[in-house]
């Protein structure tokens, strides 16, 4: 099956710093989503981005499907950004299964 790797696995930032999270996948995809899982376990949908670039406030994402990676940018980080960031993909021809990446654990400190 498709492999999804995220980097870095852990990240500590000072409030106000910027960061880039990366998601690499091993096969072509027709669905890619970025999620933020908060400390209470809620999985918040950030972006649906199988290709191209999108922005939402301090967050933006870019997927280069032909090169099999996606990037999530967080600018001016806040303590409420802490949690785990997952990318999840559906492989082309892979049915309905959304395969999640390994996650990036982010902690934003004052």
């Amino acid at each position: 099956g498709i492999q999804v790797e995220q980097s870095p696995p852990d990240l500590i930032l000072q409030e106000g710093a910027n960061s880039t999270l990366r998601c690499n996948f091993s096969d072509s995809v027709n669905n890619l989503q970025w999620f933020h899982q908060n400390p209470w376990g809620q999985l918040i949908n950030l972006f649906y981005i199988p290709s191209g670039t999108k922005q939402n406030g301090r967050l933006s994402a870019t997927t280069v499907a032909t090169e099999r990676y996606s990037l999530l940018y967080i600018s001016s980080s806040q303590t409420t950004d802490s949690g785990v960031y997952f990318c999840a993909v559906r492989a082309t021809g892979g049915g309905n299964k959304l395969t999640f990446g390994t996650g990036t654990q982010l902690k934003v400190e004052l």
């Binding site: 027709n30 989503q33 376990g41 809620q42 949908n45 997952f86 309905n96 959304l98 999640f100 990446g101």
Partner: protein, 113 residues
């Protein structure tokens, strides 16, 4: 307003005692999914319904069953919970199975005594 609603948020059951988790949606989506997420791991798909068609993942244990009585509701039944079934259970929906994002509920955290 919540569009994918899971009840309860926290569930405690005894070892071997059947338990049912529920999910409802107001989106009128065709597809409903159940994921299991163990501590410090990524969510993993257990099964999904496309309308009334049930699709089980190959490695989902037989102990896990699901029911979808109508478009809005889907249930996860664990027939004889073991300690290893303690996890967060996430329900998701999508409009159909291709090129559509999945929308997740807040999850039910299941503990086994």
């Amino acid at each position: 307003d919540a569009m994918v609603i899971q009840n309860p948020r926290y569930q405690v059951t005894q070892f071997g005692k059947p338990v049912t988790l529920s999910c409802s949606q107001t989106l009128n989506h065709n597809v409903m999914y159940w994921y299991q997420q163990k501590s410090s791991q990524a969510p993993k798909l257990l099964f999904h319904y496309y309308d009334k068609d049930f699709n089980n993942e190959a490695d989902t244990p037989d102990n896990f069953q699901s029911r979808r009585p109508n478009t809005s509701f889907c249930f996860l039944d664990i027939r004889s919970p073991g300690l290893g079934d303690a996890a967060m259970y996430l329900c998701a929906t999508s409009r159909d199975s291709s090129y559509q994002p999945q929308h997740f509920g807040d999850g039910t955290r299941l503990s086994i005594l």
